[in-house]
């Protein structure tokens, strides 16, 4: 890749301020971006990235913030002061955001999705498909106009969103953590698309927590902390890409506010006896797809086992089979066929539901924090004690039936203890968890499970959408718990994370174990090869 001659500036944010009930979310923030440029916007959760983006795409209308946003006029002649009253105005000005949670309508076809707000009263389907297909062919995303969006993978849905932005002639495209739900393969595809967009002269703002992406893609990195610009780095110096090693420490220091030498703490070295044995575990979906095929493994106390593999290789499904949430009793009602044996502490377990698993001293931190981890509108306190109450084995209530009282004082003091220990930032125990940042939410979930004092902890994507500072704290806790004898199984799509925190790594491919590594002796490439070949 060669250095770019940067073109004209097309978006200029000038000293923007925004406050929520007296607290400054943004203070004097500047951001300018040229056509054909990819700017990575970095910062911890709560640094003000999303607030800034909301201002740029009109979700915070004119008048709710101070400062000016200048956008290139439609005839590309000059910059104009943006006066967006809503996101639609911003769309017309050529600003589109590709959301983290994809807001596509599952029952519509790709073509309808692209023409959503300008569909005629009477749709000529042939013409519509033809028109859209012609456009899609020029992009080379491999999308078909007649596909139903609901049947597409997350990666392809994202491509639909991007295609839609391009169809509307967007000039400025904002990506909000686009890769957090993508498989490795889809990530590479996305990188290609971003390069393609850059070549086409679009301006791209790329928000992410993953630094490796930043070094791969960005021309410039802008760091926000506590609502202020703290620094900016260019990826090129005198026409050459600056090496990652030079930039990374500086970026992390800016983001966190203090230098972090190594984000992975030393591994726990004290192992106990083998206490978990999984034999011939298989999992078949209702439509006959084999998600997990005859897998066996063991785990010692204090050991951390990593599950690596591409999306759909069966990482989460193994945890689901062990924790009993794929047994068809779930509110979602997916009924998988599970076979195989689980032995824990020498006993053969029959886990039918999560409840059974919890009573056997297991705990599970799900990958979908908001969907299945937390009751968002309820307090930190209620969320934290939920599992302990359900397990009925705790000091919060004296007897083990549902009518036993929850003693407010004890409830508060025991949750308060965890809030302190895990350093959860909150205003009050009765604050709704939905208002917390991702990292703090994840800590609440962790606390919820630690209150049941489990022996075996399953972690699925333990740090997805969590900022660097909170990541380090969570990693420290993981090692801390392991050294106290807790066994853990960690599923993650982030290879460095698995390499950094696990003792052993099982690599999965199509439901099989394709390789087993000791974390110290293996490189990221080895795992990739085992996962994808």
């Amino acid at each position: 890749m060669t250095a770019k001659i940067l073109n004209r500036v097309i978006l200029d944010v000038r000293s923007v301020n925004k406050s929520f009930s007296g607290i400054n979310a943004l203070q004097n923030v500047q951001l300018s971006i040229s056509s054909g440029e990819v700017v990575a916007l970095l910062g911890e959760n709560g640094a003000g990235k999303s607030t800034l983006m909301k201002i740029i795409c009109g979700a915070w209308p004119l008048g709710t913030y101070e400062g000016e946003v200048w956008v290139e006029s439609l005839d590309q002649a000059k910059l104009e002061l943006a006066q967006f009253k809503n996101t639609r105005d911003a769309h017309h000005a050529g600003i589109v955001m590709i959301h983290q949670e994809l807001s596509v309508f599952t029952e519509l076809t790709v073509a309808e999705h692209l023409e959503l707000d300008e569909l005629p009263m009477w749709i000529h389907w042939d013409l519509l498909f033809e028109r859209v297909q012609k456009f899609l062919d020029t992009l080379g995303f491999g999308l078909h106009a007649q596909w139903k969006v609901g049947n597409l993978s997350v990666g392809n849905r994202q491509l639909v969103e991007i295609a839609r932005a391009l169809y509307k002639n967007a000039k400025i495209i904002i990506f909000d953590e686009p890769t957090s739900a993508l498989s490795e393969h889809e990530v590479l595809q996305l990188y290609r698309v971003v390069d393609q967009l850059r070549a086409a002269g679009k301006a791209i703002i790329y928000i992410t927590h993953r630094l490796d992406e930043v070094f791969q893609l960005a021309d410039r990195m802008v760091v926000l902390r506590d609502g202020q610009n703290v620094g900016e780095l260019a990826a090129y110096s005198e026409g050459l890409r600056v090496s990652r090693l030079k930039l990374q420490p500086q970026l992390i220091t800016w983001m966190v506010g203090r230098p972090i030498e190594d984000i992975y703490p030393p591994l726990n070295q004290i192992f106990g006896s083998e206490f978990l044995r999984v034999q011939n575990l298989s999992l078949v979906s209702p439509c006959g797809k084999i998600w997990v095929d005859n897998i066996s493994f063991t785990l010692r106390k204090g050991e951390i086992l990593g599950l690596a593999g591409l999306l759909g290789a069966g990482r989460s499904e193994i945890l689901g089979a062990l924790f009993g949430f794929l047994n068809g009793e779930s509110p979602k009602g997916v009924e998988f066929k599970i076979s195989g044996e689980i032995w824990m502490n020498g006993r053969h377990l029959k886990v039918k539901t999560p409840r059974d698993a919890i009573l056997e001293k297991m705990a599970y931190v799900s990958e979908d924090r908001k969907g299945s981890g937390l009751v968002l509108n309820q307090s930190i306190c209620s969320n934290m004690i939920l599992a302990a109450l359900a397990a009925g084995e705790n000091h919060l209530s004296k007897r083990k039936n549902y009518f036993s009282f929850v003693y407010t004082n004890q409830e508060q003091s025991s949750t308060q203890k965890w809030v302190k220990e895990l350093r959860i930032k909150s205003t009050h125990l009765s604050q709704a968890v939905g208002e917390l940042s991702g990292g703090n939410q994840q800590k609440v979930i962790l606390a919820k499970w630690l209150m049941t004092s489990p022996e075996l902890l399953f972690l699925d994507e333990p740090t997805r959408g969590v900022d660097v500072g909170a990541k380090v704290e969570i990693y420290n806790w993981i090692q801390n718990l392991a050294s106290n004898g807790m066994g853990m199984v960690v599923a993650s799509s982030e290879m460095p994370e698995l390499l950094g925190i696990c003792h052993r790594i099982l690599v999965l491919r199509n439901g099989h174990v394709s390789a087993e590594f000791t974390a110290k002796t293996v490189s990221q490439e080895d795992i990739m090869r085992a996962a994808s070949l």
Partner: protein
């Protein structure tokens, strides 16, 4: 930035701000009581009228308590009105056709107890039917209970052969029409009032809200003593309503089950993954509401001295209205039993007041509907701010 590290004790914030939110419904109720007293030149605010008002409210109130739980887990039950009729009719048949109403003295009380239990049993069976389909077969509560509504109404008409079943025994009528003696009434009210005051002040870290609760309870207790002492004592339905109300409030606020109900309503998936026995609890809640409806069937027929197969029309919607006016979200997960009880009083006061004012019955309906909409609108606006 937007978050503050928690070093100070958690109490501070509750001392600073008055939680008007939680007193809004009390204030609204006070306002309407005051307004009606003013408009009726005091007729409204007499012990006699207020005693009648509380008795009128009881049935809707009991249903609203049960309905609160159902709505909190994200469900709905449209069948309660019909179940009230069906269970009333079954109890009536027991009294009249089996001749239980002829029993006198001590035997009469046994007959009454048996009739009430059978009525509650009928309600429980209907609730089990609802719950079984909703929980086991994942059919939308709206559909199942709509079906149950029609079925139960039909069964009531079949069993009663389309006519009223009367008369019932005096002992049975006592649960709908009777009064406790004034001395016992004062004792019960005082006991409950002092109990609430004691527990709100016995908290280790009291905030302003605890003092306010104690004060409100003191005012309401004195008011209640005045009302029921000056007239004829507590009506029996009000006693039942009161006991169930206190149990309901405690259940939701203080017990594990209450936490589970709120969690299920807020996010069923998360509750299930945290080990909450989702299906069992959901089922039991429909059964509980069924039991309440059965009890109301007995009370209603006792009050009317006869079981009508057409009784209880639109009771389900009155109960839903009370729950929603009380601030419970129809999406589930947010709400209180206390609010629903106040909501029931609000609706009852409105009905009673408009009758006293001789408002045309047709207009009453229009006004009632508009007030329900307004109440919920205000509630949502203040929540979104």
């Amino acid at each position: 930035m937007s978050s503050i590290t928690l070093d100070k004790p958690a109490v501070t914030s509750s001392r600073i701000s008055v939680p008007w939110q939680s007193y809004r419904s009390v204030l609204a109720l006070m306002a309407i009581l005051f307004l009606l007293s003013f408009l009726t030149e005091g007729t409204f605010f007499t012990p006699r009228n207020l005693t009648n008002l509380t008795r009128q409210v009881s049935i809707n109130g009991i249903l609203a308590i049960g309905m609160t739980f159902v709505i909190l887990i994200g469900g709905i039950d449209l069948s309660v009105g019909s179940v009230v009729a069906l269970s009333g009719v079954v109890a009536g048949l027991l009294q009249v056709n089996l001749g239980l109403s002829q029993w006198s003295g001590g035997q009469g009380w046994i007959a009454t107890t048996a009739s009430v239990f059978v009525a509650v049993g009928v309600g429980i069976i209907c609730g089990m039917f609802n719950g079984w389909f909703i929980v086991r077969h994942k059919i939308a509560p709206f559909i199942i209970t709509l079906g149950m509504m029609v079925i139960a109404r039909g069964l009531a008409l079949i069993l009663a052969k389309g006519a009223a079943i009367a008369p019932l025994s005096d002992q049975f009528n006592f649960i709908g029409q009777g009064y406790l003696s004034t001395a016992l009434s004062v004792f019960l009210i005082g006991f409950a009032g002092l109990g609430i005051m004691f527990f709100s002040l016995a908290q280790k870290d009291r905030g302003l809200s605890h003092y306010l609760t104690a004060a409100t309870s003191a005012v309401l207790t004195s008011l209640a003593i005045w009302i029921f002492y000056s007239y004829r004592g507590l009506p029996v339905p009000v006693v039942i309503f009161g006991i169930l109300g206190i149990c309901g409030v405690l259940l939701l606020q203080k017990t594990c089950l209450g936490r589970f109900i709120l969690a299920i309503g807020g996010n069923p998936e998360a509750a299930w993954l945290a080990g909450v026995p989702l299906k069992r609890i959901s089922f039991e809640i429909y059964v509980l509401l069924g039991a309440f409806a059965g009890l109301c069937g007995a009370i209603l027929s006792a009050r009317l001295n006869g079981a009508l197969p057409t009784a209880g029309e639109l009771f389900e919607l009155d109960a839903v209205a009370a729950v929603v006016i009380g601030g419970t979200s129809l999406k589930g997960g947010i709400g209180t039993v206390k609010g629903s009880i106040l909501g029931a009083f609000f609706m009852g006061a409105l009905n009673n007041g408009m009758s006293l004012l001789d408002v045309n019955e047709f207009y009453q309906k229009v006004i009632k509907g508009m007030i329900i909409i307004l109440a919920v609108w205000f509630d949502q606006r203040s929540h979104s701010k």
